[in-house]
């Protein structure tokens, strides 16, 4: 059991953690989410003492990990960590990466360690890579080896610092599956991630971090479907939609489309809707919005999607042709052909397209 007691961490010029409180029970799989810069990674690093907290305390099975009774090595043996960038030892092959700590640090017999490593490799389907060096592996394979390396010292708790962020979308699944597998075996885990689908799938509870504290805590359903507090609601709304501010001078159509597609790819929206939205985003932005907006002020675009529809909302429009008198017939025809409806609100200076 891991307890946070008024934990704070202050750096020279900012203070990511102010007052963290919470309990992690054995077998919990906690996802730590929140806007960037809220100290999610810092919190993880404080747990295995890669960073030391500046105030408060962390109790591991009731005993402070900062107390003199706890050797820092014991803390790190009990609490393993998996990094975003894998950090496999480049000069060691796969099997040595896994066995180096148990053998040279914790005095495990070399043969026993070797046998156990092979069992792990078999479990994670990497038996044939045991003599490969890290530079010969794919990102997903590297991360799997990194997880095995952490498991080989038999930790009570495993920390994951954005384990899938550095991976190709194709490889996210192979790592996600392993974490899911570990959570089903009741290994206590804390995971910092931006992969919300994954959070929903594996976590038993979620810590939403904001303002330097655990702002809201609950099951995935509670946090995602029924958030209670202001900032959590805002965060959930934002992860479900895609927002961007554009400016006629600096805007990059192709970047916009690519970000937009990235957002939609994590949703279950039908492909024909996505393609239509893709086409419309270009058509509308260029011919209906920027045809009229001649000044430099920013225009906000919000895109949200659900199973059946995609909503494309433009706001902060100063000179929009709300009567659509100036738009040429061809453009109008293309747009009208693709959208279900168009909601124009001249008072709020917004226009919304539903696809």
């Amino acid at each position: 059991m891991l307890e946070f007691k008024n934990l704070g961490k202050k750096f020279d010029n900012f203070e990511p953690l102010i007052d963290i409180n919470g309990v992690v029970y054995d077998g919990d799989c906690i996802s730590i989410i929140g806007p960037s810069g809220t100290g999610k990674t810092t919190l993880l690093r404080c747990i295995n003492r890669l960073d030391d907290a500046t105030s408060g305390d962390i109790l591991l099975n009731g005993k402070s990990i900062y107390s003199a009774d706890y050797n820092i090595i014991d803390v790190r043996q009990k609490i393993g960590m998996v990094f975003q960038s894998f950090n496999l030892f480049n000069n060691l092959n796969v099997i040595d990466n896994i066995t180096v700590a148990p053998v040279s640090l914790y005095g495990k017999d070399r043969k026993v360690a070797h046998r156990e490593a092979i069992e792990l490799l078999e479990r994670f389907s990497l038996r044939d890579k045991m003599n490969s060096y890290p530079h010969e592996l794919s990102g997903g394979q590297k991360q799997r080896v990194a997880i095995m390396r952490a498991l080989a010292v038999e930790p009570e708790i495993l920390l994951f610092d954005e384990p899938t962020s550095a991976l190709d979308p194709m490889m996210v699944n192979e790592v996600a599956k392993i974490i899911k597998d570990l959570s089903s075996r009741k290994l206590t885990m804390l995971i910092v991630t931006h992969e919300m689908k994954f959070v929903r799938d594996v976590s038993s509870r979620i810590f939403y971090l904001d303002e330097g504290r655990v702002y809201e805590e609950g099951s995935p359903e509670e946090i995602f479907d029924n958030p209670q507090k202001e900032k959590t609601k805002e965060f959930v709304r934002r992860i479900n939609s895609f927002e961007v501010s554009i400016n006629r001078n600096t805007f990059d159509l192709y970047l916009l489309i690519s970000d937009f597609m990235k957002h939609l790819s994590s949703k279950n929206t039908p492909i024909e809707k996505v393609n239509a939205a893709n086409l419309l985003l270009e058509e509308i932005t260029l011919n209906e919005i920027f045809a009229n907006e001649k000044d430099d002020s920013n225009i906000d675009i919000q895109i949200s999607s659900s199973k059946d529809e995609i909503r494309l909302a433009y706001s902060n429009l100063n000179n929009f042709d709300f009567e659509l008198k100036k738009t040429d017939e061809l453009t109008k025809a293309i747009i009208n052909n693709k959208i279900n409806s168009r909601k124009i609100d001249a008072a709020k200076k917004t226009v919304e397209y539903i696809i």
Binding site: Q77, S85, N90, Y106
Partner: protein, 510 residues
């Protein structure tokens, strides 16, 4: 497996091919590209002509001063070895040279009248022994002058004179080990290439000046620590008090008296201008010429021993400097890895100062200033200088490579429970070796080559030994080619050893 064998063969081939090519080119240039015989055109050889010509002289010698005063419009070509100056004039690289008549005579004696004296002697002077201005010499110098007077009166000096200056004089070796040092030891520096005053014969220092000093020590119970150097090095060393006495046909001048003491005059000298006599040696055919040169360079007077001794010194200095320098650089590197601002600043300053000063200058600083009055042998001072220089460069190489290792490697090791030191040695340093070794190899080769400058501080390394041989045989070709090859082979071996180590530490599949 196959690949590595092939590679080995290629490397060895490369060595052989390179050596053959170098020898072939050198031989070709030496033997077939001799300057075309000058036709008997009217060659002006007069002191009038000297005024606007080039004059070869020994660096720091009286000849240099006299030439500068007498022929202010001439261009002076200064050589560290007088034999090089003489040879340059003989082969026509420089039209005139200036030296003492005895020196020219001695050269002609060995080479067969290849030089001729131009006009009247430019200046007459007297030569004596240098005495450093130190406490010891307050008693030694009066004793020496007293001894000199005595042998002038009893005719002993005449006998010595005849031995070294007469055409049929019989050279003897001086047994320095037999001197009993009851009254202490004197450090006796000589210009090892200045026959007949001081030079190396049968691997020992002999000559007129040397014998007088030797006889004096016999009589007054001093031991001698003989240091063969070049003239300029001898003079600098005497001025700084590094050496007690110095011999090498030193002209007594007012200028020099300002900074060193002289004994009473030993010999009257004439400073003359000389030029090539237009006569070449009776030309031998190719094989005979080569045989003759080879005989003179290695066999005569057991000169190969000089090369071996020089090689021993070079290897000793290189290896010690590499070992100590590597250890020191590793220590500096560890200090720079600490978070201490003070230590970091100190190490940065150390590296930047030593990188910014040529190693020769460091060597001279240590020898003439820092260890001025200590009796540490030059070899050790050279090792210190090279160690300092090497450690600065190598610590920079190391720190760059170590800092270049991904920070994630540290964190991953920490997270598993490894301590700082174990992490550093087991993961970080091992990984950095792959980028350290190739650059380190370059530094080692450049260190081996740069040891060739230690002759400046009286260390008899390979280069210095070849100088000494050259000054005796007056044949620069074989000695220089020999040491070139030895340096190349030495560097080649060092480089291959490191390549082997690199293969061992590389983690990529072999």
């Amino acid at each position: 497996m196959n690949i590595s064998t092939n590679k080995k063969i290629r490397r060895t081939d490369l060595l052989t091919i390179t050596i053959i090519i170098v020898i072939a080119i050198a031989l070709f240039l030496h033997l077939f590209l001799k300057p075309a015989e000058k036709k008997d055109a009217i060659v002006v050889k007069s002191l009038e002509d000297v005024k606007t010509s080039e004059i070869a002289v020994l660096t720091g010698s009286n000849a240099e001063n006299v030439a500068r005063e007498t022929f202010p419009d001439a261009t002076l070509m200064t050589y560290n070895l007088n034999s090089d100056a003489l040879y340059a004039v003989e082969i026509g690289n420089v039209k005139y040279g200036m030296a003492l008549s005895f020196v020219i005579d001695d050269y002609n004696k060995k080479r067969g009248n290849v030089l001729e004296i131009v006009g009247e002697p430019v200046k007459e002077s007297e030569s004596g022994i240098f005495f450093a201005r130190n406490e010891k010499n307050k008693t030694v110098l009066p004793q020496f002058n007293e001894f000199l007077n005595k042998i002038k009166e009893n005719g002993e000096l005449k006998k010595i004179d005849a031995r070294w200056f007469d055409v049929d004089g019989e050279i003897i070796n001086l047994d320095y080990d037999s001197l009993n040092g009851e009254n202490g030891t004197l450090i006796f520096a000589v210009d090892a290439a200045y026959p007949p005053f001081t030079y190396v014969y049968n691997n020992e220092v002999v000559g007129y000046d040397a014998e007088v000093v030797y006889r004096f020590c016999q009589e007054y119970n001093y031991a001698l620590d003989v240091r063969p150097v070049d003239f300029n090095g001898m003079l600098t060393g005497i001025k700084s008090g590094k050496f007690d006495i110095g011999g090498g046909g030193n002209a007594i001048t007012e200028e020099r008296k300002k900074s060193v003491d002289f004994s009473d005059p030993l010999k009257k000298n004439k400073m003359c201008v000389y030029t090539a006599a237009g006569k070449t040696e009776a030309s031998l055919n190719f094989m005979e010429g080569l045989k003759d040169t080879f005989y003179k360079t290695f066999i005569q007077e057991d000169r190969y021993k000089l090369f071996l001794e020089g090689l021993k010194a070079t290897i000793f200095m290189s290896c010690m400097s590499i070992i100590l320098g590597t250890i020191l650089s590793f220590v500096i590197c560890l200090l720079r890895l600490t978070n201490s601002v003070v230590l970091n600043k100190i190490c940065d300053a150390y590296v930047s100062i030593l990188e910014g000063i040529p190693v020769l200058v460091i060597l001279l600083l240590l020898y003439y200033i820092v260890f001025k009055s200590s009796s540490i042998p030059g070899e050790y001072i050279a090792i210190i200088a090279f160690t300092l220089n090497f450690s600065a460069y190598v610590s920079e190489i190391m720190i760059t490579s170590i800092r270049g290792v991904d920070k994630g490697q540290w964190e991953a090791a920490y997270a598993l429970g490894f301590s700082y030191w174990v992490t550093f040695l087991k993961f970080i340093f091992k990984q950095s070796l792959v980028s350290i070794i190739p650059v380190y190899k370059g530094e080692i080769i450049s260190l081996i080559k740069s040891t060739s400058i230690v002759g400046y501080i009286a260390v008899q390394d390979l280069t210095k030994m070849s100088d000494i041989v050259r000054s005796r045989t007056f044949e620069p070709f074989v000695p220089i080619l020999t040491i070139a090859l030895i340096y190349y082979i030495f560097s080649f071996l060092a480089s291959n050893i490191l390549n082997y180590i690199l293969l061992k530490v590389k983690w990529e599949k072999k």
